[in-house]
Each structure stands twice: as C-alpha cells, then as structure tokens.
Amino acid sequence: MTVQTQFQTGAQAAALRQSGASVKMVAKDVKVFYGAKQALKGIDLEIQENRVMALIGPSGCGKSTFLRCLNRMNDTIENCRVEGLIALDGEDVYGRQIDAVQLRARVGMVFQKPNPFPKSIYDNISYGPRIHGIASHRDEMDEIVQKSLERAGLWNEVKDRLREPGTGLSGGQQQRLCIARAVAVSPEVILMDEPCSALDPIATAHIEELIDELRENYTIVIVTHNMQQAARVSQKTAFFHLGEMVECDDTEEIFTNPRDERTQGYITGRYG
C-alpha cells in the first residue's frame, strides 16, 4: 500500500490524473541478476490500467527480462535474482501476500513463439479455467471458451472444429489461440513478449487490431522489436538500453520528440 501512496504524490500523480488512468503496476528500482551478471540496473516504471505499454530497445537490453519479472516467470530460471519492488495494485508481487501461481493467473502471458498445448482447441482454452475452478459445469465452460475465442477474434474461424488439435492451426491462429487461452482465466494484466515476431504481416495486423480491442478490458505490456508496431498499438512507450530504462513517455512523444539522444539514435535506426 505504501507504494501506491508514494507514487500518487506530487507531479506524477497530477500527470496521472491528467491522463485519466490509474496505475496498475509499479516497478521501483528493479535489479535482476543472472548469477553474477546484472541484467537490469534499477528500473523505475509505472504501468497504467487499460493502456498498452510498449517496451522497445535493442536485443539484450533487458526488456524481456523486465517483462518476465512482472509475473515472476523468472522464478523458474536457475540463478536468477530479483531486487527492488514490483507491485500489482499496490501489493508487492514478490511479497508474502501474493503467491506466484495466483499472480500468474492475474497477470497472464503470451510468448514469442506460439505455444499451444498439443491438445484440442477447446482443451487449450478450458485448461486454465479448469485448474482455477472458474467454471462449475459444462455450459459455463462452453461459454468461457466461446467468449475467450471471440475476444481473440478466432471464434468464427474455429467454431466448427473445437475438438481438433490446436497445433494444427496456422501460426497467426495459434498465437491468437494463445491469447484466447490467456484471456480465458480473466487476468487483469496481459504480458506479451514479441507476440508477432514469428508471424507474417497479415497475421501481425490481425494481432495488433486485437491488442487495441483488448485494451478496453485489460492492461497490456508488450515487448516488441518493431518500432512501427510500438507506435501503432501503444499509448506509452519505454525505451530500454543496456539494462537501463532510458526514457518512458507517451508513445507519440517518444517517437516525435525523444529527450535522450540514445532513444533518438535507436528510433531513427542508427543502431539496434
């Protein structure tokens, strides 16, 4: 709770009120170490509710690492140590009140490569709700599956073959299936780690549209290498460089009027 008050004072809070959004997640002085190697050197960032936040930066700059801190996916990596504070609705996600399993149900994730389970489309979607006991009987589950697939814009394409393997879909469809799977457990935040890097331009356009629609109900953080994509889908953009968060501002501001020269160098294509 202290985190929230801390961040909602002074100019920052004023800026927030101005933009009309409340803060969903907060990172404060986040440092990540892989063994002796430091991957993140103190990141401060706030993620606003019902907004899309894009994380950009050259390869190896730590954006994926930061993303994986937000739902504690780094826990599974050997020798990974996280310092600093990450809060979801004012609660420390590495603290005692929040369990990692519970956190990941609230903060869903879509990965770089589409990774549907080698099961039917229906089972892919229903797995999450089933383990969390969200649906009490079949009809309810059917409804969740349909709604999730509709949200991911996949329902019309697969409604006649829900029993067929999810791995039989095309790459773009598989990624939307993964988004539907993440949506099915009703998360509050969805993290996307380069969700379009393995897709063709048409499938990418599809996903981008989808992200824009999902923003109404979810808070989205997306890592991308594609700056046009960041410009198209996000409202806020953070530029990462060598484990540091160089700059974070409204997307328009970052792309038209970057304050730091490293940001400028990256978005104009001088390096990266």
């Binding site: 399993v101 990941r104 149900a105 879509v110 990774n115 549907p116 389970f117 080698p118 993440a182 099915a184």
Partner: protein, 421 residues
C-alpha cells in the same frame, strides 16, 4: 573478387576434379555403410540360423503307445512301472531274457509310470480296465527318431545298442512311436531327465521376478527422474547424484548380485533363490537405466510447454503432470520396457543369490525357490545329453521370443502415444 573471377574459379578443371573427389568420397562412405549393415545382418542370420536349426527339434517329442491293464493289486501297491512293463513286453513275445527286457525298459521314460499314476488319480474308474496310453519315450529314443543318433555310428560310441535300435524299428513299424508337439517343455519344471524337463518353472520364475522388478523400479525411477529433471535445484549435490546414477548404469551386473547376497540374504535374511530377492536385485540394476531414459524423455519436452502452463497459473506440479509427463510418456515407456527386457535376459546377479539351483517345482509364490529363463539356459548348456543341448537352443528361442515381444511392445506404445500434431 569480381563476379567474373569467381565464375572462372568454379568452372576450372581443378574445381571439376575436386568435385569428382568429393563425389567419390561420398560413394565410398555409402559402400562402407552398406557393407557394415550387410556384415551385421550376416552375423545375425548365422546366430539365429544356428540356434533355430539346433533348437527347433526341442519343440518335438517322441511318445510311445502302450496297451496297459490297470491291475488292482499293482495300483494298490502303486507299482505302475510293472503295469507299464507288462504292456511293453506284450509287444515283444520273443524277449524273455533279463537283458533284452531291461533294454526294452530303457526305451521308456523314467517318468512314464508317474503319468499312469496321474491318470488313475484323476479317474479311479480306470482300475481293472485295459487302455491304450501314450507315454513319453526315453530321450535316447527321441533323439534317434529325430535323427540325432545315427545307426552308422559304431555301437560302442552311441547311447543305443543294436538290440534297442531293433526294438525301436519294430515299434515304429507297428506305429507305436510317434513324434508330436512337445507340450512337456511348456508345462513342467526342470528335470534330470531331458524328456521330462520343461521351461514352465523358469518362465513362471522370470515372470514373478520381473513383476517385482517392475513394481519397484518403475515408480521409483520415474519419480526420481521427474524430481531431478523438473524440481531439484542444480547444485553440487544434485550434480553428485547425477554422476553417481550415470556410474551405476555402467556397474557390472554381478556386483548387484553380490550386493543382494550380502545385504538381502546376509543382513535381512531373505530366502535364497526367491523371485522376490531376484526382483529387488534386478530393480537396483534397472533403476539407473530408467532414471536416465526418463530424464532424457522429460528433457526433450520443449520448455515452451512448461512456460505456457505456468503462464496461465498452473502450479509447477500441475504443469508437469498435466503437460510434460504425458508428452514424455512414450520415451519413458520405451526406456522402461528396454530396461525390463535387459532384466529379463540377466543371469549373473541371479547366480549370486542362489537362483541357479536345480529346482523341479514350478514356483507358486514370490518367496518360493525358483529359477529364471536365462539361468535355466545356462544350466542346460552345462548338461552333456544331446537332448539337453537341443532344449538349450529351444529355451533360447523362447527367451528371444519374449524379448522380441517386449521390444515390439515398446515400439507399439511409442507409436501409439506419440503426439503427431
């Protein structure tokens, strides 16, 4: 280098000869490969050919037809040998002297009177009647009928005298000898008499031993593999355990037998020659194999599946049991069955815990004395009789049959559970 230069480089004679050399090297490699496969096939054919050509006669057995009268007095005194003898002598009215009658007697299996006794026990109404019965012939008669003993061999060098051969000729001319399927081989235990010896006792012993092995090694092995692969922290201790498991897989199997002898028999006082002890010893031997193959199978499941499950809030155990384990199942099953097949063919450790004893009875429980198929083969291979050497090959064929069956099952299960999508 300009485009023109590089074109001339690849069009030069020097390049052409180099290309020819590369193709020649490839052709040589293919020839060597084909030769290697041909060699292996040839060896396999020779091995199987020699076993089958020597052993197929083990599945045949000669029986003799005798007309017997179940005399009540003899039945009372359980003198079934006398009943049988009278029936046999009736066919040779000329043989009245002691020597020729003894020669006739030798043509019958020493187990034949017991067969009559069993008949009477099952059907007491036989007493007093006259029946035609088929009883086992002696193994020398059997071998002669199958052509393994030649009448051209000098009399002093063959187990059958001329008089016996004459008697056999007479019997076979009257249709009193017939060679049919050897059911005894598959229904009885071991015996000193080849014609009464069977592998059923060894098969039952092998089955019981394997059941114990499987019940112990599969759950422990798979659980250990899952823990080590999915949950254990990667530190010095788990490294040490891993190295030790790999080393254990390479330990000579007889060492496990010594361990069983010292610990299970010596310290815990478990019964000697029992399938229970054999199973425990073989389970110890199979464990490292199962752990290693299961870990490889788990490792081959893409990490993206684990991430997908964790990403929607599955607990680590749920991600393993719901997703990783089903995908690793074909590999685990294959490893397990291969391990079991290895245990089925194992001899050395069982010698140490006394499963090499001569055991006639078919084991009825896990603590009964028993032997197993490969040990039975080992013991028969030691016997001098021609009939035992053919039974050795026959038992090897049965063992190979079981091994092929198990490996076939492994392939079938892998194909069945493999996710093709």
């Amino acid at each position: 280098m300009s485009a023109g230069n590089s074109r001339s480089l690849y069009q030069s004679d020097e390049f052409a000869t180099r290309l020819q050399r590369r193709y020649a090297a490839e052709r040589r490699f293919r020839m060597i490969g084909i030769a290697a496969i041909g060699m292996a096939t040839l060896m396999l054919v020779v091995l199987l050919g020699s076993i089958i050509s020597k052993g197929y006669t083990a599945f045949l057995q000669t029986e003799m037809r005798v007309e017997v009268t179940f005399d009540p007095t003899d039945v009372q005194e359980r003198n079934y040998a006398a009943i049988l003898r009278r029936g046999l002598y009736a066919q040779f009215p000329d043989a009245t002297d002691r020597a020729s009658r003894r020669a006739l007697n030798d043509l019958l299996s020493s187990g034949a009177p017991f067969a009559l006794e069993d008949m009477v026990r099952q059907d007491p109404s036989l007493v007093g009647t006259t029946r035609t019965v088929w009883v086992l012939a002696d193994d020398t008669v059997d071998q002669f009928m199958k052509g393994a003993i030649s009448r051209d061999t000098p009399e002093s060098q063959r187990p059958l005298t001329d008089a016996k051969i004459a008697a056999i000729d007479a019997l076979s001319a009257s249709g009193a000898l017939s060679t049919g399927f050897n059911t005894t081989l598959f229904t009885s235990g071991d015996s000193r008499e080849p014609e009464q010896a069977g592998i059923w006792g060894a098969i039952a012993g092998s089955a019981m031993t394997l059941i114990v092995t499987m019940l112990l090694s599969v759950p422990i092995g798979v659980a250990a593999a899952i823990y080590l692969e999915e949950f254990a922290p990667k530190n010095r201790w788990t490294m040490l355990i891993e190295v030790n498991i790999n080393n254990l897989a390479a330990v000579p199997s007889i060492i496990y037998g010594l361990l069983g002898l010292a610990v299970l028999l010596g310290f815990f006082g478990m019964p000697r020659s029992a399938p229970l002890v054999g199973g425990v010893v073989l389970a110890l031997m199979t464990l490292p194999v199962i752990i290693i193959t299961s870990r490889v199978a788990l490792k081959s499941v893409p990490p993206s599946i684990r991430e997908a499950a964790l990403g929607i809030g599955a607990s680590p155990l749920q991600s393993v049991t719901h997703h990783v384990l089903p995908l690793a199942m074909p590999g685990i099953l294959t490893g397990t069955i291969i391990g079991m097949a290895r245990a089925l063919g194992e001899t050395a450790p069982l010698l140490m815990i006394g499963m090499v004893a001569f055991i006639v009875d078919v084991p009825q429980g896990f603590t009964d004395s028993a032997t197993v198929l490969p040990v039975q083969i080992f013991m028969w291979a030691d016997s001098p009789e021609r009939a035992f050497s053919e039974r050795t090959s026959g038992a090897i064929m049965v063992l190979l049959g079981f091994l092929i069956l198990m490996n076939g099952l492994a392939v079938f299960l892998r194909k069945k559970f493999e996710r093709r999508w």
